[in-house]
């Protein structure tokens, strides 16, 4: 099989070839490394490449498969990690110049689990500094560029994780999501991004931003690939205080229903939060997606939700206070070495009184209960993932239907709500704007409802072709 064809294959097909010994993990890894060589100068998805380690892992996987020791769907499959997951012996910068030379002496839980699955890590991926920005800008490592238009942002903070999947530099990547940092780059790059229920994947060894809002999740070519990643990554970890004790399950179960998997699902369309602040091209793609879900037998109708702007405000106060608590020493002693916008964002948290933080937590808990009440009336909620498509790299503000807002608002205002309340959410490609920029459809479920969420997203995906399109890069 030609090198370029290997990088087009979804995880299940690639792993089937490896299991049957029709393709070697070394061959696959070399194909991906060539692809990175070709595309990286235009995209900047990686902070640190790991070619030598990747080839060593691939050779080990090859030997194991030949000996009959095939481990499963990620054995010998090239993956990428956001550069805040600690990797033993490989620098982990968290997108910061301060940590440019930081080399951990142990792996994060995500790196451990991928190692146990036999995956081949090809590199540490671009991110915005300390994961505190929804753009793909980074003053220390340069911007990550959107494969659909390299003059545009890839979204953040897991910027390289979105770019690498879209540009076929890795078969699958992992990011973190505190306000939308998996789903936003997934939407802007035209790939699938899953933020599981809070605590489902261990955060041990991942640089924290907000301990009560940080989530770990995969970015992938398809919902099926995301389900396979969840199988590999989910599970209790006593080293993460928020880690859930959930019995192991196969998250691919139910996906065999294909396009029939959405039939009978009650889909609540989030309407109370900002059609006036949504780009017309994004809205049109979203409405077409709702039509498609109805065609598949889902009952999609408007849903009454609590005041989502308040959820956002509570999430912002909580996230910023926690970020300030975590990174106070960094901003006070080495703030001048940071991106100044991110420095200020963290420092603003030092001015949040303790009682205001605690009140925000109570408001957040109350609004979460109200959202769960909404999810008694419907099975899942649906919205666009972002209100805008990928902004230009030099763009700071955007005018939507006559109203000018900062691009952060356009990128994060919808996703941030569901990070604040810890509900599982997935973004799948649902179309393109007139400028041929991808648009994401966000589906949100009850806690631990990933099987339903994945089944409905998969039904939508197999009945459309948006996820099968690749940028010409």
């Amino acid at each position: 099989m030609a090198s370029d064809e290997l990088t087009l294959l979804p995880v299940p097909r690639l792993s089937a070839l490896i299991e049957r010994r029709e393709v070697s993990p070394v061959e696959v890894t070399e194909a991906y490394l060539r692809r990175i060589d070709e595309t990286e100068p235009r995209l900047n998805a990686f902070i640190t490449r790991m070619d030598d380690q990747a080839l060593a892992s691939a050779r080990q996987a090859e030997a194991e498969v030949i000996r009959g020791g095939y481990r499963g769907p990620f054995h010998g499959v090239p993956v990428g990690l956001k550069d805040l997951f600690r990797t033993k012996g490989v620098r982990t910068t968290s997108g910061s110049a301060i940590d440019r030379e930081f080399v951990p002496d142990e792996d994060s839980a995500v790196a451990e689990r991928f190692a146990a699955a036999g995956a081949v890590v090809v590199g540490k991926l671009h991110m915005t500094e300390m994961a505190f920005d929804g753009t793909s800008l980074n003053r220390h490592y340069g911007p990550a560029r959107n494969p659909w238009d390299p003059e545009r942002m890839a979204g953040g903070s897991s910027s390289g994780s979105g770019v690498a999947v879209a540009a076929r530099q890795a078969a699958l990547t992992v990011g973190t999501d505190t306000g939308g940092s998996v789903r936003v780059p997934a939407a802007l790059c035209g790939v699938t991004g899953l933020k599981p229920t809070f605590g489902l994947i261990s955060r041990y060894g991942a640089t924290p931003l907000s301990w009560s809002m940080d989530h770990v999740g995969p970015l992938s070519r398809s919902v099926l690939d995301s389900a396979l990643a969840l199988n590999a990554l989910a599970g209790h970890d006593s080293r993460d205080p928020a880690s859930l004790r959930v019995a192991p399950r196969d998250y691919t179960n139910g996906l065999e229903r294909g396009a029939e998997g959405a039939a009978g699902t009650r889909v609540g369309v989030v309407e109370s939060f900002g059609w006036d602040l949504t780009e017309p091209g994004v809205r049109a793609a979203f409405e077409a997606a709702m039509t498609q879900l109805r065609t598949l037998g889902a009952d999609a109708k408007p849903a009454a939700t609590p005041d989502l702007a308040l959820v956002n405000a509570a999430g912002s106060v909580v996230q910023t206070a926690e970020a300030a608590a975590l990174h106070r020493e960094r901003v006070l002693s080495r703030g001048r070495e940071m991106d100044q916008a991110i420095r200020r964002r963290i420092e603003s948290g030092l001015f949040i009184p303790a009682e205001a933080y605690l009140h925000a937590q109570r408001v957040r808990a109350m609004l979460r209960r109200e959202l769960l009440s909404t999810l008694e009336e419907v099975d899942i909620l649906a919205s666009p993932t972002t209100a805008i498509a990928a902004p230009r790299l030099d763009q700071q503000r955007v005018t939507i239907q006559g109203r000018e807002v900062h691009i952060r608002e356009g990128l994060l205002r919808i996703t941030r709500v569901f990070s604040a309340v810890g509900l599982p959410a997935i973004s799948v490609p649902c179309g393109f704007t007139e400028d041929v920029l991808p648009v994401g459809l966000q589906l949100v479920g009850k806690p631990l409802s990933e099987p339903l969420l994945l089944r409905v997203a998969h039904a939508y995906q197999v009945s459309t072709e948006w996820h099968t399109r690749f940028p010409d890069v």
Partner: protein, 68 residues
């Protein structure tokens, strides 16, 4: 609930010194609007009666009563 008074620039500078921030004038001028915006969010939340939520809960998105 009593309204939270707006933070003046002078009060902000005094707090910044207390908290050990870099007192560079340009930095403080750029930081102040961020702090004001945060205080606006705090003020918006103060208008919400969260009395139904027991103190001490809500420190994570999980309610202890929910199945895990």
């Amino acid at each position: 609930m009593a309204d939270r008074p707006a933070l003046t620039y002078e009060e902000f500078v005094a707090l910044a010194m207390l908290y050990g921030l870099d007192m560079d004038e340009e930095h403080l001028r750029e930081l102040f609007p961020e702090v004001e915006a945060m205080h606006d969010r705090i003020a918006a939340l103060e208008a919400v009666d969260a009395g139904e939520v027991p103190p001490g809960s809500g420190l994570s998105p999980w309610d202890a009563s929910e199945p895990q």
